[in-house]
Symmetry: C2
Subunit: 359 residues, 2 copies
C-alpha cells in the first residue's frame, strides 16, 4: 500500500474491514477491490455531480483490474433516500446483469452511501458494498459502521439495514471540490467526536492546528471504535454518536429536508444540547462556549432560523425513532470529551434546550 | 403447551425458534407471543381474504394478552411482493405508531409471509416477525427458514433478506378453508421433500396413508434441518430444497405470474427434472413414475400448457438468480430420498427435461 495511505481497521470478526484514508484513492479502487478478492462485475452507484467529477476515473481503475463496470446514476439529494429510488436502482442493477457474484461501489456523499448500501443489502439478499465517500461528513461518519437507510414520510432513516461494507476508501482529494457549505457541515460531526470522545479536537479545529488527512483518519478511528463496541446499537455505546442528533433530526425535519443541511441541523442540536447539559448535568459554561466557538469557526449556525417554532421541532423529535418507545434517551456530557445516555430528562428539558438557541 | 400442539425446534444459536403445529393455534397466538417475551404493539399483516376469516380472532387473542393491535391489509396475490407494496406497508406501520419495540405478525400464505417478513427486516433496521402461515405451502415450506423476498420485473425473489422469525405458528385448522387448487399446490413441496429426503412420503401420499397434522410437522422438521445446516445457502445443502424449482421458476415466469400457481409450476419442474435425472444420472424409470403418480394424485400438472414455449422458459431460467454466475447448478437425484447439486449439466440437458413434459 502507498505510504501516503493510512489504514484504520474496523474489527467485527467475520465482518471486519479496512478503512483507507489518503489522496488519490479513487484511482486505486480497482486494485484495492481486487486485493480484497472481489471480482466480476462492479455496479458503480453515484449521483450526477459526483459522477461528472470521478465517474471516468472510477470506471478506468476498475476496468484496468479486469472488472466489468456498470454505472448507475441517482438523483442528487435527500429525496433519493426513498423506496422509489431504491426500487429504480434495483431494477437498473438487474437490467445490467448485476448478480450475486457482483458488488456495489457507492461513490458519493451520505445519501449515496445510505441508498446504495441499503440496496446492496437487499439485492439478491445481500451483495458486498465498497463505500467510497466523497464528502467530509461521509468520510468521517456515515460511510463507516454499516448503517444503511431510506426515509419514510414519518421520518428520516426509518427503514434500513445493518450491512457492513467490505472496505471504505476515503479519498481526501475528493474533498477539495466541495462547496463551502458542504465542507463546513461535515465538521459538525468532527466537533461531535470532540464532545463525546476527544476534546483536543475542538481546540485544534479552532486554532486551525490540523491537517485533513490526519483528521479524517482520527475521526474514522473514533467512529470505528464505537461501532466495534456496539455494532447494532444494542448496548447503548453506539448511541453516544447521536449527541446533538436528537434535536438535530427534529430541527432538520421541521425545517423541511434540504433547507438545512444535516450537519447544520446537528450543529444547532449540539448547541441546544450543550445548554441543556449546563442546566441538567452541570456542564461548565466555558465548555458550552468552547463548543459554540468551534461551531462558529466553521460558519455553522448556532441560532435557529426565525420561522422554526419550538413546538414543530418537538413534535418531530417525538416522532423520531430514537423516542419511539416513549422514553427520552438523550446523550449528555458533563465534561467535554466524554458522554453518556441520560434517561431522566423531561420534555421541558428539551424545550429549554431549544429555547436557548432561539434568536 | 396444549398436548395437541407439537413443536419442532429450529436451531440456529441466537436465532433459534420454535415451529408450532396444531389445531387452533390462531387463538393462542397472543399467549405464545407473550411467553416468547414479546410485548407492546403487534402489527398484524394479512390480506383481505385471510383477514376476513381470522382477523377478529387474531386481534382478540393479542388483545387478551395486553398487546396493542394494529391491522394492515395487503392486496392478495403475487403483485404485492413489490417495492410499492413494501413502501405502502412501511408507511402504514409508521402511521400506526409501530416502532422498534413492536413486532409483526404475518398472517397468510407465501406472499404475506415473504412481504411482511421483508418489511419486518428493514423497518427500524429490523423488528421481530412471527409467521402464522395459513396455506399448506407456507406451513410446510415458505414460513420456515427466514428467507424474505419481493420481486423485480427481471424475476421473482430478486430482492430480499434473511430474517428468521421468532416463531412459526402453523394452525392446521386454517387449511380447511383452502380452495382445491390452493390445497393441492402445497403438496408439490411435500412431494419435493419425499424426493430429496424421505421417500416414504411419496407412497404415503399416494395411498392416502397420512394425517395432516403429522405431515406438516414432518415437513417442517425436514425444512428446519436443511436451514440449520446452511442458513444462508452458502454451503449448498439448503440449495437441495430447490429441486424442481429451477425449471419451475422459469415455467412460472414464462406463463406469467398468477397463471400457474407456484406449486403447479414446481410440479412441472419436478417432472422435467426427473426425466433429466433418468437421462443423466440414471434415476430408474420406475422412480420417475413414482414421482409422477404422486403429482397426479394431487391433480397437479405433469404436462406443460400448450402455449408455453421451451425457449421462453429457458430464457427465464437463465435470467433466474440461481444461474446468475453463468454456471448451471441443478439439483438431481439418482435415487428417490436423496439429492445432490450437479454442476455438469448443459443447456441441452435442461431443454431435454422441458421437452419431456411437452404435450
Amino acid at each position: 500500500m502507498d505510504p501516503l495511505i493510512q489504514t484504520v481497521s474496523l474489527n467485527l470478526g467475520p465482518r471486519s474491514y479496512p478503512i483507507y484514508v489518503g489522496n488519490g484513492l479513487v484511482d486505486q479502487a480497482g486494485r484495492i477491490c481486487s486485493d480484497l478478492g472481489l471480482k466480476g462485475r462492479v455496479a458503480v452507484v453515484t449521483d450526477r455531480n459526483v459522477g461528472t467529477l470521478y465517474g471516468d476515473r472510477i470506471a478506468t481503475t476498475f476496468e484496468n483490474e479486469g472488472f466489468t463496470v456498470s454505472n448507475h446514476l441517482v438523483e442528487a439529494g435527500e429525496p433519493s433516500k426513498s423506496f422509489k429510488a431504491a426500487a429504480e436502482l434495483c431494477e437498473d442493477l438487474a437490467r445490467h446483469g448485476v448478480n450475486r457474484q457482483s458488488f456495489v461501489a457507492a461513490l458519493g456523499g451520505g445519501v449515496i452511501g445510505d441508498l446504495a448500501g441499503f440496496v446492496a443489502s437487499i439485492y439478491y439478499r445481500g451483495i458486498p458494498v465498497v463505500q467510497i465517500p466523497t464528502t467530509v461528513m461521509a468520510q468521517v461518519d456515515s460511510s463507516i459502521g454499516g448503517k444503511t437507510a431510506i426515509n419514510l414520510s414519518a421520518g428520516k432513516n426509518l427503514v434500513g439495514t445493518f450491512h457492513q461494507p467490505v472496505a471504505v476508501l476515503a479519498d481526501t482529494q475528493t474533498l477539495s471540490t466541495l462547496g463551502k457549505r458542504e465542507w463546513n457541515e461535515g465538521f459538525a460531526e468532527v466537533i461531535k467526536y470532540g464532545v463525546i470522545r476527544e476534546r483536543a479536537l475542538l481546540s485544534e479545529l479552532r486554532e486551525g492546528n490540523w491537517n485533513l488527512h490526519d483528521l479524517v483518519r482520527r475521526c474514522a478511528a473514533i467512529k470505528a471504535s464505537f461501532v466495534e463496541q456496539d455494532e447494532k446499537e444494542l448496548t447503548g455505546s453506539r448511541a453516544l454518536l447521536n449527541f446533538g442528533h436528537t434535536l438535530g433530526h427534529g430541527i432538520e425535519a421541521a425545517a423541511g429536508y434540504g433547507t438545512l443541511l444535516h450537519g447544520e441541523a446537528v450543529a444547532l442540536g449540539m448547541v441546544a444540547a450543550a445548554h441543556l447539559c449546563a442546566k441538567r448535568v452541570a456542564l461548565p459554561q466555558e465548555e458550552v462556549q468552547e463548543l459554540v466557538s468551534a461551531i462558529k469557526h466553521f460558519d455553522l449556525p448556532t441560532v435557529l432560523p426565525r420561522q422554526l417554532s419550538r413546538s414543530d421541532i418537538l413534535m418531530k423529535v417525538f416522532a423520531d425513532k430514537k423516542f419511539a418507545d416513549g422514553k427520552i434517551r438523550f446523550v449528555v456530557t458533563n465534561r467535554l470529551g466524554e458522554a453518556r445516555v441520560a434517561h431522566d430528562l423531561t420534555a421541558e428539558d428539551l424545550e429549554f434546550g431549544l429555547r436557548s438557541i432561539e434568536s
